[in-house]
């Protein structure tokens, strides 16, 4: 190691600048198949949504079989989270935060149901089932019509009632010294 480089590294260590440390490059390239297998998150643009589709009618059946025991009929809540209703309540004395009243994007519902529900057996549904359950849940409050079929193309187009109900605070904690 040259004297100059040693000085730079020493200065970096003293300053706690992590990224200046030399690293051993021990990661191996990920294959496309590996990435596809784990990339289950769905952003608002729906770019990672899988193939498949489901209707409100199919979703009502899946919901009754898989979801109702925890979320009550039509997602009215009890014993666990309320999923439906409450639209328009956010400015009242008793705001009710549900999927329908609060969530800004329908893609989040798909993402969460697919990764974490039903609670006793996460990731046991098919993609068609998940599309169907999302369609059914959104139909309860008329966010999608009763004859809706959701798929990778139509789901990201759903406009949630509280889409504009947020104010950006993401950079509130960003230090002036942040590098990016």
């Amino acid at each position: 190691m040259s004297t100059l480089r040693a000085l730079v590294v020493a200065a970096a260590l003293i300053g706690g600048a992590a990224s200046a440390a030399e690293t051993p490059h021990l990661g191996r390239p990920a294959t496309p198949a590996e990435i596809q297998a784990v990339d289950i998150s769905v952003p608002p643009d729906g770019s990672t949504l899988p193939k498949g589709s489901g209707t409100v009618a199919q979703g009502a059946v899946v919901f009754a079989q898989q979801c109702q025991v925890c979320h009550n009929a039509a997602g009215a809540g009890g014993p666990n989270d309320r999923l439906t209703g409450g639209v328009g309540s956010l400015t009242t004395d008793k705001p009710i935060k549900t999927v329908a009243s609060f969530w800004p994007y329908a893609t989040t519902v798909f993402d969460y149901v697919r990764r974490a529900m039903p609670w006793p057996a996460p990731q046991s549904l098919s993609n068609d089932d998940v599309y169907a359950v999302v369609a059914y849940l959104l139909s309860v409050d008329g966010i999608v019509p009763a004859n809706a079929r959701l798929d990778a193309k139509t789901l990201p187009l759903v406009k949630m009632p509280n889409r504009e109900g947020f104010q950006s605070w993401a950079d509130r904690y960003r230090p002036k010294t942040a590098s990016r």
């Binding site: 990224s19 990661g27 990920a30 990339d39 014993p79 705001p95 609060f102 969530w103 990764r115 609670w119």
Partner: protein
Amino acid sequence: MSGSGLGDTEEQVAGGGLLHRRMLLRGGVLAGGLGAAFAARAADPIGAGSPDGMKVPGAAFSGYGTPAHWREGIKRTIGALPDRPGTGASRTPLERLEGSITPAGLHFERHHNGIPDIDPAAHTLIVHGLVKQSLVFSLDALMRYPMQSRIHFVECAGNSGGMIAPAAAQNTAGGLHGLLSCSEWTGIPVSSLLDETGIDPKATWLLAEGADAAGMSRSVPLWKCMDDAMIALYQNGEPIRPEQGFPMRLLVPGFQGNMNVKWLRRLKLTAGPTYTKDETSKYTELMRDGKARQFQFGMGVKSVITKPSFGMTMSGQGLYEISGVAWSGAGRVARVEVSADGGNSWAEAALNGPVLPKAVTRFRAPWRWAGGPSLLLSRATEETGDVQPVRADWLAQYAPGQNYHYNAINAWQVEAGGSIKHVYA
């Protein structure tokens, strides 16, 4: 110096018996009376007056030590749904601990669908998305990376959420505020791995995902990952425990606990937030105007007196040490003040250094209790100038029912008989 009376060396600095913190440095709080002597009579065995432990060989070594059996009651308090034993939280018993580091086995837990049992040899961390080269890291590979050790608190955003209830709950410091713990974490700066993958200029966020049955996932601003985020592999010197994310968790110092994704399996660089379930449904705080903050990541400046506190009883009038914990997600705690008269007057507490950024700082204040009612408060100020608010001011910001990021001043009412109640003040 005598500890038995109000001498002229004690400087009262606020009402209700609060003394100058200088007292602590002079050792005035230390109890006297050590070294009680006994004299063995020559005709008796030498050990006649010795404790039993000096007269029989002690217990054997152990592979992993355990707390004194005399103190087995120092435990996390668990709140889980009856039919869902892995869903809920357990709280650190703050009132039973001292110092600033939480023992790993008492670090609070919040799980959304139980603790997975992950084989470290089979577990990998994949970094992909808006990178130049997607990479997969085995745990063995990560163990060869340069590491850092740093002391940071982790606090659940829902900590102290019960404080919005109309009546003050009669509960301990840990029961009310114990979704807070502080550890020395050792691991690899996230920036080290991102330097190796390279970063697409379009990347501004990162999705972190866990390998648990909730598939816990949160979006983190990329600047935070380049600033001080870490892939934590060790906690207080030992491999991170299963309930804290074994074999690895994300650590985002000062940000809400939920973002410190446990059982970390994936980092995906993205052009915006993914709007995952938790950051969408839970951690977007509804304000009075019906709009929600998106996103309130940093945990506000906060403190709580742990001694004396609810569940303890004063043992007669005289000198006590008030002791508590203070912390801030923005940086260092600059000052903690305590009041023994409900906020009419305040005394500056001594901070037990080192005072580290985004870490718990222990504070102490000497206090002579005269035996009457006394309302104890603590108020922390952070280095950026933010001050812990009073409860009414905190509540006024948020829509009814919102209880994340509660950081208002806590109050303990010491009653004339020496019992201690939790009150709102």
